[in-house]
Amino acid sequence: MIDLNEVRTRLQEVYDPEIGVNVIDLGLVYRMEEAEEGKLYIAMTMTTPGCPAHDNISQAVEWKAALVRGVETVTVDVVWNPPWTPEMMSEQARTQLGY
């Protein structure tokens, strides 16, 4: 059984290298679920389609999630629907960006 809270905590260590805010606070992670025992599925997005850091961020999410106890495989899906909006950011991220 995967502890999704632990995954969330791990993903707070993944930063957008340009903005300097983590993917959880940016609201980039839409969904996390354990579809089958040990198989973690993550649906996430980027702040803009064609984001040049796309591969790095999704790979980092994959790596960090894989470190969580009980995770055997990780599938990261980058989706564009619904598109990311500033309202998806946490209060902390808004403060950090001065929004």
Binding site: E18, I19, P52, A60, G70
Partner: protein, 434 residues
């Protein structure tokens, strides 16, 4: 972690070319900027004395346009095209080999210009032309497959068409010089056509087009309208063709009308950028982006100066002031501003993105903080304004001081770029991958 295998379920939208492709061009551009800065300081007294048509100054101009700006822009375009249109670059091998053709052609051409060696200009000019046609063809082929066909695609596509026209006209001028001057009667018209298509066509369309992607991306802007972009495209095209027509029919009124439309294009572009910036999420507008915004204002100022020049029927020093302000203020300042964002990203991507599993991966700003761009960009802007005043007022002392200030600012820019690039590491990376 328990024997993790991680099938990637996501769709890959990143189509970035290999690091070596953009980096070689960017590196050539940085070296070109350095050579230009040193040569500008060296020739400052010739410029102050208004000897602008000497071979040395012609070579200096092309060190900036071919050696620095075009080299840098080609590298950036290879990277940005994949980001902006979500497409891969076609025929990567040809693109990589083409770098060497360009490097040899452009270097040989500039050296031949400095010596006013017509055979060299013919040979190296032809090599450069072939290389630029290849580059423009590859970009056109690549973006032809893009699924999203917005205004930005038109800007980038037309920019490359105008680049091919500018190169063809330049090549015709060289052929004419070499072949006994069979185009001597229209050489001045050809020269202006070349300048207009290169600066008002290629560079202007490219900077405007990619600004619509880069400025929102770096300011994290959302919810702005793209409605004005189409008008900018229309005005910019009308202005360019109007100016070219004005040159060929020799009509000051026609030129003035086209200049007014050009001013409308810049005002519209400036308003688009300011709307994007207004809708940003990042409170602080970084120095490089401020420079990009300032460059749009300077572009506007250069076109206004063109109108003044036409209206008052001023002579040569005024024209040189207009061209210098446009090329250095609008184009060069934009390129330098974007360089402070693009180069650190490329280096970060190459050297640190593979360390994502580690906790101590630096942020991009750790490689070169945007605030550090201040001395180079503002020193350059100040020098440029002084150069415009000095050139237009035919003021020797101001022109020389301005050249030295611009030169020092560009050298600071080059040193900062080289600190990020780290020549020793990059040479190792470039040779290891190929």
């Amino acid at each position: 972690m328990q024997g993790v295998s991680s099938p990637r379920g996501g769709i890959a939208t990143s189509q970035s070319p290999p690091f070596t492709l953009p980096m070689r061009y960017l590196l050539l551009g940085v070296v070109g900027f350095g050579v230009f800065a040193l040569d500008l300081a060296w020739q400052s007294t010739a410029l102050g004395a208004n000897r602008t048509w000497s071979p040395g100054v012609v070579a200096l101009t092309h060190t900036l346009t071919l050696g620095s700006l075009l080299a840098f822009v080609m590298g950036a375009v290879y990277q940005l095209t994949t980001v902006a249109f979500l497409i891969p670059i076609r025929a990567l091998r040809v693109a990589r080999l083409n770098f060497w053709l360009y490097a040899v052609g452009a270097t040989g051409l500039v050296v031949s210009m400095a010596q006013w060696w017509l055979v060299g200009m013919m040979v190296f000019g032809s090599l450069t032309a072939v290389s630029i046609y290849l580059y423009a063809g590859l970009i056109a082929w690549s973006i032809a497959t893009a699924k999203t066909r917005g205004t930005m695609l038109w800007f980038v596509g037309l920019a490359h068409l105008y680049l091919a026209v500018a190169v063809t006209v330049a090549w015709l001028m060289i052929v004419s010089l070499q072949g006994g001057g069979f185009l001597a009667g229209v050489i001045e018209k050809l020269l202006w056509t070349h300048i207009l298509f290169a600066t008002g066509g290629f560079f202007t369309f490219l900077v405007m087009g990619f600004s619509f992607k880069l400025v929102p991306m770096f300011t994290l802007a959302h919810g702005f309208s793209g409605a004005r972009q189409t008008w900018t495209l229309l005005f910019a095209n009308l202005a360019l063709w109007g100016l070219v027509a004005g040159v060929w029919v020799d009509s000051r009124l026609w030129l003035w009308g086209a200049g007014v439309v050009g001013l409308a294009a810049f005002v519209n572009h400036g308003m688009t950028l300011f709307e994007i910036v207004k809708k940003r999420l990042r409170k602080v507008v970084e120095v490089p982006l401020k420079a990009v915004l300032a460059a749009a204002l300077v572009g506007m100022g250069a076109v206004a100066l063109l109108l003044l020049q036409l209206g008052m029927a001023l002579q040569a020093p005024g024209w040189q002031g207009v061209v210098a302000l446009y090329v250095m203020g609008w184009i060069t300042l934009s390129v330098m501003g974007f360089a402070y964002k693009i180069v650190p990203f490329l280096i970060w991507n190459q050297r640190f993105s593979k360390n994502v599993e580690k906790n101590k991966t630096p942020m991009i700003a750790d490689l070169l903080h945007p605030h550090h761009a201040r001395p180079a960009l503002w020193g350059f802007t100040l020098g440029l304004l002084l150069l415009t005043v000095g050139t237009m007022a035919d003021w020797f002392f101001a022109t020389v001081v301005a050249c030295v200030l611009i030169s020092l600012s560009i050298l600071v820019f080059c040193v900062q770029m080289l600190i990020v690039i780290h020549p020793k590491k990059v040479i190792k990376e470039l040779t290891a991958i190929d």
